[in-house]
């Protein structure tokens, strides 16, 4: 039962990763790409982490997975912000 | 080590150490330098005296120092080495005196006398070398220590002459080295032994031994100025007169000739060399050189150049004597080693005197110089007559023995003509000079009179050395039969070589 749930979560996570990657490749400009990538990947990672957390036996492991997700969330949000800001600055300069 | 083992080392060190100290002297300390030079030279003379006495009485003087397994630096005094050592020592003393006078007020005297002493040390070491390895070491050291002497003046011609000298001698040295190494691989350490050591090698080595002989003779022939390896010698004339004197009489040219004697007599053995069929080739090379040098000398107006080509010719008498099988020819060759040295140094001293005193560099400028500088010109005349072979000067003795030896060996057919032709040529290039010097009227002025006639015709340090050597040349001829004379000593060497 737990296995099934975790599998579904992981598969869903992978779907979001796929979507994010396709977005990165197909979308027209930097902002939309950034949007696709961060949104989809953060969600994908969250689902992946949740799936793995269910899979693991120890609570500590689950907590670590949560921590990883949070850390990546913070990092990717910040870097997306930085990239977007830099891009915008260059635009205004031109 | 006992005294007998130290003596050869001391003989070398008596010029080496003063030389090394002189390098580090202040340029201005002339007296100390002169003192060091003279003390070294006189000390060496005394040591050599002991050496002569001992070797005559069959004492063994040998120093040995291992440089690498199987490679020993050996200083060994035998009759032949003592002959050459004595010549070098005596002439060093004389030349030092001459050089002190010659270089008065010239720059770079520390360097000059330093290398001068090193040069003599190398010559003496080469004379005392007890095996071919040691010989090669000193042979190369001689090259190194003479280079700065030839380039000493620092003019473009001097540097160029020195470079040519170096190119020839280092190239020759390399061939000598290769030959020596090859021989070492074939036969082990090649100690100099009277009668040679290679005769006992199996016959299958003989082709290799012939090639090695060629390498060795070419390597030595460069310094001995065998035609066509003589090209450096006229170029090296740019050196200061004392250097030329030493180079031609003792150090460089003689080292080559001495090496040929060593290789033929004490490495291969004269009989074995003959057996390999190499002796005739050597003789022919010597004969060609004798005639060629004389002819070239005939056409030189520059006095030093004329003397240089004369050296080319005269030194090959030694090689010629070596190539004549039999003790008498040997005696002729070896005694010429000494006789040519004494006579040629006289000629160069006097040439230097003409140049230093009156600025005379060319034969054509020598008209009447005999009146202005009688003593010098007298010395010149004695030496020149000796070179031609006029009795009773030393040169006559050499030529006499060479002729006799050729007769004895049955080689008279080609040796005699060579001797006669060369003597005629000698006369042809020396007699006109003597005629000019004594019998032509002097010109209105000398080219450049540096030293005015005062108490002597020139400064004392320049005058006495040629006078002394000319006297020696005369004495060597007059008293040839006296004990310890060069001739007697050469006879001793020949007897020991042929086991008589």
């Amino acid at each position: 039962m737990i296995n099934l749930a975790s599998s579904i979560l992981i598969l869903a996570g992978l779907f979001f990763y796929l979507a994010g990657s396709i977005g990165l490749l197909r979308l027209p400009d930097l902002y939309t790409r950034l949007h696709a990538l961060t949104k989809a990947d953060n969600l994908g990672l969250g689902l992946l982490a949740a799936g793995l957390a269910l899979h693991s036996q120890h609570l500590l492991t689950s907590l670590k997975l949560l921590l990883i997700w949070l850390a990546v969330l913070a990092a990717s949000a910040t870097s997306a912000h930085l990239i977007a800001r830099q891009a915008r600055r260059q635009e205004t300069r031109r | 080590m006992n005294w007998d083992a130290w003596l050869p080392v001391l003989v070398v060190a008596s010029s080496l150490l003063p030389g090394l100290v002189i390098f580090f002297l202040r340029e201005g300390s002339h007296r100390l330098r002169t003192a060091l030079n003279l003390v070294g030279a006189i000390l060496k003379l005394v040591l050599v005296g002991i050496l002569i006495w001992g070797v005559f009485h069959e004492h063994v003087y040998e120093s040995r120092w291992t440089l690498a397994p199987g490679l020993d630096l050996v200083l060994h005094a035998d009759t032949l080495s003592v002959l050459f050592v004595t010549l070098s020592t005596v002439l060093w003393l004389v030349t030092t005196v001459y050089a002190i006078g010659y270089l008065e007020n010239a720059p770079h005297r520390s360097r000059f006398f330093g290398f001068f002493s090193l040069c003599v040390s190398a010559t003496v070491g080469l004379a005392l070398a007890g095996n071919l390895f040691t010989f090669v070491i000193f042979y190369e050291l001689l090259t190194l220590s003479t280079y700065p002497l030839i380039a000493h003046r620092g003019t473009p011609e001097a540097v160029r002459g020195a470079r040519i000298y170096l190119a020839y001698t280092l190239g020759g040295g390399m061939l000598l080295l290769i030959g020596t190494v090859w021989l070492h691989v074939l036969a082990g350490p090649t100690a100099f032994v009277e009668g040679g050591i290679l005769g006992r090698l199996p016959a299958e080595y003989h082709p290799q031994l012939k090639v090695i002989f060629l390498l060795l003779i070419i390597g030595l022939g460069v310094k001995a100025a065998l035609v066509p390896l003589h090209g450096w010698l006229p170029q090296a004339m740019v050196a200061p007169a004392p250097v030329s004197a030493l180079l031609h009489a003792v150090a460089v040219v003689k080292a080559g000739a001495f090496g040929i004697v060593r290789v033929v007599y004490d490495v291969y053995g004269v009989n074995f060399t003959d057996q390999l069929g190499l002796l005739t080739g050597l003789g022919i090379a010597a004969a060609i050189t004798i005639v060629y040098g004389s002819i070239k000398a005939l056409f030189q107006d520059n006095l030093k150049k004329r003397l240089a080509y004369s050296t080319v010719s005269q030194v090959s008498y030694i090689a010629l004597g070596t190539a004549i099988l039999g003790p008498i020819g040997t005696i002729g060759g070896i005694v010429h080693l000494v006789h040519q040295g004494i006579m040629k140094i006289t000629l160069f001293f006097t040439a230097g005197n003409y140049a230093e005193t009156l600025g005379i560099h060319k034969v054509s400028e020598m008209n009447g110089v005999g009146r202005r500088m009688p003593a010098t010109t007298l010395a010149f005349s004695v030496a020149a007559l000796g070179m031609i072979g006029v009795p009773p000067v030393a040169g006559f003795v050499s030529k006499w023995y060479l002729g006799l030896g050729a007769l004895e060996a049955g080689m008279a057919a080609w040796v005699m003509p060579v001797l006669i032709i060369s003597s005629v040529l000698n006369a042809a290039y020396f007699l006109p000079v003597l005629y000019r010097a004594w019998f032509r009227e002097p010109g209105p002025a000398w080219p450049a009179e540096h030293i005015p006639a005062a108490r002597f015709e020139t400064s004392a340090a320049l005058l006495w050395p040629p006078v002394v050597t000319a006297t020696l040349a005369l004495a060597a001829g007059l008293f040839a039969a006296a004990p310890y004379s060069p001739l007697e000593w050469a006879t001793l060497i020949a007897h020991r070589e042929y086991g008589l």
């Binding site: - | 201005g28 690498a68 397994p69 770079h108 070491i137 190369e140 090259t143 280079y147 380039a151 540097v159």
Partner: protein
């Protein structure tokens, strides 16, 4: 005596740390550390001579688990040379670097370089050798950049990249060895290594890496600019010791560790490259316009001679003749070390006193600095291989080996190379004769001129006349 091995590594390393912490008295500290290191090297040499090969298990762990330091005759000799050359160069450097900031930068790196050399010669472990090689490479590059000029930085960067590539190749070989034989210990390996793909490939990769570092033709391209643009004391050590260290490793690998793996064909290849190095390096030295470039190209050529010995050593059966040849090789390497270091120091004096080192304009220079000119002449004697230098004995053995094994090509190469060396040396010395008078004293700037003079005298006189113990020491193998 085994503590001397620790001292050889720990003393200069401690010195490096101390000079970093005490920049004001760095010179005194560094010279002190250098002296102590030299004493340790001498002690080790005596120890090896009296007690035979020594080893030291680091941390007390048995060989294999831990790292073992080893010293035999060869390494003791090279360590002694390293110490003497580095000490002389240190004395020179104490006068060369005038600004305090320069000195503060120089000394720690200098002592780190010294550490790495000692560690390399002592190391008995393949991976440890990789670390020492990297330490050597980085410290050498860092020192080479002290030249300050753009050319120096450019050459140093190329030097660094080449060195890194070399170390990587070496490490790849080491990895293979560990994969195949499960040990990194140099003394264990000869017993387990056998001819086959692993050993061949590993040896080929390690050798290629080391040849890059030792600048054997055609991998020499980086050497002349790097050695010619570094500060003089650094150039001295780069040319005399650093390339020699990589060469030492080639020698170790080929003659000890992989002795039953190497083939005459491979050795002939090395010999052929060496021959090319001799001829090409000498030729380029003859063309060089600056003294430093001349010296650097001469290093390329001189390293070539060392490789000429490989085909001889492989062709000679084990025995006294082979030992003689091996001794000749080491003698040649030692002589070159001293001579080239002295030459670079002497060139440094000329460069600093005259503001240039262009050969064409040297007239008169020689007259100002007779002692330095004399040092160049002595170095020249050793580089040409004339007696009484140690190189003469080395070349004698080289020629003898070539005759013995019938490999005449090497004989011709050696002869030609020596004559070319004479040509490039006397091209310089020809400028020593001019009309300008000498200064009244032969040695004018003592702290700068004496090191060069002593080093070159060591090469041209001491090694040649007193070199017989070298062969004795080399009999002491691991």
């Amino acid at each position: 005596m085994t503590d001397a091995m620790i001292g050889l590594v720990a003393l200069p390393l401690t010195g490096a740390v101390a000079t970093l912490l005490l920049p004001r008295s760095a010179t005194v500290v560094a010279i002190g550390a250098g002296l102590a290191t030299t004493i340790a090297a001498a002690l080790l040499l005596f120890g090896v001579a009296n007690q035979g090969a020594l080893h030291y298990e680091m941390g007390g762990w048995s060989t294999g688990l831990g790292i073992t330091l080893r010293a035999d005759g060869l390494s003791a000799l090279l360590l002694m040379m390293t110490s003497l050359v580095a000490l002389a160069a240190s004395v020179y450097a104490s006068a060369y670097f005038s600004a305090a900031s320069e000195r503060a930068r120089f000394w720690p790196l200098w002592l780190l370089l010294w550490t790495s050399l000692n560690a390399l010669f002592l190391s008995g472990d393949l991976f440890n050798l990789y670390v020492t090689l990297e330490l050597l490479g980085l410290s050498a590059v860092a020192l080479a950049t002290l030249g300050g000029k753009r050319a120096a930085a450019e050459a140093a960067l190329r030097y660094l990249l080449v060195g890194l590539l070399g170390s990587m190749l070496f490490l790849a070989g080491v990895s293979l060895i560990y994969a195949g034989y499960g040990t990194l210990d140099l003394a264990t390996l000869p017993r387990v290594v056998e001819p086959g793909p692993i050993a061949w490939t590993a040896l080929a990769m390690m050798t290629t890496g080391l040849l890059l570092k030792t600048a054997l033709f055609p991998l020499h391209f980086w050497l002349p600019p790097a050695h010619a643009s570094a500060p003089a004391p650094v150039s001295a050590v780069l040319s005399a010791l650093v390339v020699k260290a990589a060469f030492y490793l080639v020698l170790r690998l080929w003659l000890d560790v992989f002795a039953n793996v190497v083939t005459p064909v491979a050795a002939n290849l090395l010999g052929l490259l060496g021959a090319c190095a001799v001829l090409w390096g000498s030729w380029r030295a003859l063309q060089a316009e600056r003294l430093k470039l001349l010296a650097a190209w001469s290093t390329v050529a001189q390293l070539g001679y060392l490789f000429l010995f490989f085909p001889l050593l492989l062709a000679l059966p084990p025995g006294p003749t082979r030992d003689l040849a091996a001794g000749g090789l080491v003698m040649l390497a030692l002589t070159h070390g001293f001579a080239k270091a002295g030459l670079f120091l002497a060139i440094g004096v000329i460069q600093q006193r005259c503001g240039h080192d262009t050969i064409r304009d040297l007239d008169g220079t020689a007259q100002h600095l007779p002692a330095t000119t004399f040092a160049i002449a002595l170095a020249g004697v050793a580089l040409i291989g004339l007696p009484p230098s140690g190189a003469f004995l080395g070349k004698w053995q080289l020629l003898a080996g070539a005759v013995e094994t019938g490999q005449w090509l090497w004989l011709v190469v050696t002869a030609t190379g020596s004559l070319l060396a004479a040509a490039y040396i006397f091209r310089v010395l020809g400028h020593a004769f001019g009309h300008q008078p000498y200064p009244n004293q032969p040695v004018t700037v003592a702290r700068e001129e004496w090191p060069a003079l002593l080093l070159t005298a060591m090469a041209a006189l001491v090694l040649g006349l007193g070199g017989a113990p070298v062969w004795k020491l080399l009999e002491i193998g691991t």
